[in-house]
């Protein structure tokens, strides 16, 4: 398969496992065992059963007729917003928690930005009866209070990351520090296709169910095997990795990743890593990274708490580098307008992250012959406060 991770844990120039020696045994154990565990019959049986009966898969592929009419094309929505907990994040946490059990781990830690991955982790920990600690930036805890309470109701302990800028990047630092201090009994469930190898590959594989289903469903409903376009938003890039995965080898399929441009890429307030970043090393991998001339990591900005990460998964840095995926970026304003538009045209309030993916529709030249799939990665319930404050509806 093209664009797969190589034996050294790299996608082209990006990836690797840049971790302190303290984490080496854990990451190495994971590297040596993740593929064989994922191939075990007992793993697959438990994983597939949970995806079906707990997560609610397969999620529908919905022909959005009014949106299609407006943009003169055929637009399908992959309804990851209908997953249990309201976003695609749970595909990965279900997989990783079964894997953690097989590794003999007793406790789970996770980082979270907007809280979606934290909720998805707290959810599967409750399901499996495992202890769960979620690190969340203090600033994010204030911004996303309902998700903090959801995690607490589910029995997780939410720890405020008080260091640095007190957001997702710092929550990830704190989770890594916790893992350094508790390496033996704890598994770290990373929520995106970031981190040291094998995390990016493992998370991409767990999320690849999205594109696998798209292929089957599209064939059933249209008779065509392949769409012309697949569009997904990118923060770290887990929903995009999952939506692109089974199309990476299909050169006819145009893959479009949408980053958050915040208040514009010409301002200091953006999160468009492929536009503003340079190769660098953060959280265990070499990737594109927003940073100063001196190599200090910059805190990005987006109205969406799920997209304001200073890096991007190494698979995406590679796909951008070799030109397999088109990276576009949209501003807060464009994303919010699109979120309202999708709500009005299709009766679906998307997460603000997801609204970014829709916001490229006016920028593309689409025809009646095109088949466009947008990964509707999450629902907008968690973002009501932001929609309300934005106000233009």
């Amino acid at each position: 398969m093209k664009h797969a991770v190589d034996e050294r844990g790299y996608y082209g120039k990006f990836g690797g496992a840049y971790i302190p020696e303290m984490l080496y045994p854990n990451v190495e154990e994971l590297r040596l065992r993740y593929l064989s565990i994922m191939e075990e019959e007992s793993f697959q049986k438990e994983f597939q059963a949970l995806l079906k009966d707990y997560v609610g898969r397969p999620t529908p592929l919905f022909l959005a007729q009014r949106l299609s009419e407006k943009y003169g094309s055929n637009i399908y929505l992959k309804r990851e917003d209908l997953c249990h907990t309201g976003a695609h994040k749970v595909n990965n946490t279900v997989g990783q928690i079964i894997l953690a059990k097989k590794l003999g781990k007793e406790k789970i830690i996770a980082e979270t930005g907007a809280g979606q991955h934290g909720v998805a982790t707290a959810t599967v920990c409750a399901l499996m009866g495992m202890e769960c600690i979620v690190y969340m930036g203090k600033v994010d805890m204030e911004r996303q209070q309902p998700n903090v309470e959801r995690m607490r109701i589910l029995g997780a302990k939410v720890v405020a990351a008080e260091s640095g800028s007190k957001t997702l990047k710092d929550a990830t630092n704190e989770a890594m520090r916790h893992w350094i201090n508790h390496p033996v009994d704890t598994h770290y469930i990373i929520g995106s296709v970031v981190g040291p190898h094998p995390y990016p590959d493992m998370v991409a594989r767990f999320q690849s169910v999205i594109s696998k289903e798209i292929r089957t469903q599209l064939l059933e409903s249209t008779g065509k095997a392949l769409p012309t376009h697949v569009i997904a938003c990118v923060g770290g890039g887990s929903n995009a990795a999952g939506a692109f995965y089974h199309f990476l080898n299909e050169d006819s399929v145009e893959l479009i990743a949408v980053e958050a441009a915040g208040k514009g890429n010409d301002t200091d307030e953006s999160a468009a890593t492929t536009v503003l970043g340079k190769p660098g090393v953060l959280h265990g991998s070499k990737t594109l990274l927003m940073q100063t001339m001196d190599g200090q990591v910059i805190e990005p900005y987006s109205i969406s708490a799920g997209l304001d990460y200073p890096g991007i998964g190494p698979i995406h840095a590679h796909l951008c580098d070799v030109g397999r995926v088109d990276f576009m970026s949209v501003t807060d304003e464009e994303a919010m307008s699109s979120g309202i538009e999708v709500s009005r045209l299709e009766g679906i309030i998307p997460a603000i992250e997801t609204a970014h993916a829709f916001a490229v529709l006016p920028k593309l030249t689409l025809t009646k012959d095109d088949t466009v799939v947008i990964n509707l990665s999450g629902r907008g319930d968690k973002d009501l406060e932001t929609y309300i404050q934005w106000g233009k509806y």
Binding site: Y18, E21, M22, P25, K169, N173, G280, V281, L289, G295
Partner: protein, 265 residues
């Protein structure tokens, strides 16, 4: 460019003094931007044996709150690798101890690895500790370059490191091996437990080619002496940063502290 005749100061330190070496870490640009050189000078006259200067980073994942805090203050003060090299230019006129730069790989990559090595050689830096540069990457991408500029790359081992990997690290090490005393971030634990002593003994019995220094959890004379029973000496970081955070004149505080750790206070 290549200076093979000159002995690396780290080797010299271990040859001259086979035991009870004290290596002290501090963050460049902390507490004040221009303190970097005066702290080194004070450490030398106070009786430290090796100096580790930290290059601050925005996201120091292997460090606990104390060193994170000093990194943040140093960055807010305006510290950068470029600034550090400006400060250290000429330091060899006043400081003869081995100097090791410690930091995370990203700022080094942005500076340019070869330019970085070249500047280190010009200043008289003896070694580097880059905790998030793994051995595999080091061997493939950095080793030749570091060695051509006379820089020793110091590796870490921890209680979780397998014997096979310790042997591999030993084979690829020069200078000394940094023995992390417990599975933790810096400054997270104080004191030395029985379990740790079992680990120290295990490493001692491996009879490695390189000397070892024990770091993490060393803060005073008691812990220093315990570490010295199993290794060639010890490394202090967080506890020294706390000394620097106190208000008394820097030099006085440093002298008092170093003497107390060595037991001749």
């Amino acid at each position: 460019m290549i200076n093979t005749t000159k002995i690396n100061r780290i080797d010299k330190a271990f040859q001259e003094k086979k035991e009870r070496l004290l290596s002290i870490y501090y963050t460049a640009g902390f507490p004040q931007l221009e303190d970097t050189v005066s702290i080194a000078t004070a450490l030398e006259s106070a009786g430290a044996d090796i100096i580790e200067i930290g290059m601050p980073f925005s996201d120091p994942v292997a460090d606990g709150p104390t060193i994170q805090g000093s990194n943040k203050i140093a960055l807010d003060n305006g510290m950068s690798i470029k600034k550090l090299f400006e400060q250290l230019k000429g330091i060899r006129d006043s400081v003869q101890l081995p100097i090791i730069l410690m930091g995370y790989i990203n700022p080094v990559v942005q500076y340019g690895v070869e330019n970085f090595c070249k500047a280190c050689q010009e200043i008289g830096i003896d070694g580097l500790i880059l905790p998030d540069l793994p051995m595999q990457e080091y061997m493939e991408e950095y080793k030749t370059l570091f060695e051509s500029y006379g820089l020793y790359n110091i590796f870490l081992i921890t209680p979780q490191t397998s014997t096979a990997r310790i042997r591999e690290i030993d084979d690829n090490s020069k200078g000394f091996i940094y023995m992390v005393s417990s599975t933790s971030t810096t400054g997270a634990k104080t004191g030395i437990s029985m379990e740790q002593e079992t680990y120290f003994n295990r490493i001692k019995e491996l009879d490695l080619n390189n000397p070892t220094l024990i770091g993490f959890g060393i803060s005073n004379n008691t812990t220093f002496e315990r570490a010295c029973a199993y290794a060639s000496g010890a490394i202090i970081g967080s506890a020294f940063i706390q000394v620097l955070s106190q208000k008394e004149p820097l030099e006085e505080g440093i002298t008092t502290y170093i003497r107390s750790v060595k037991g001749n206070g």
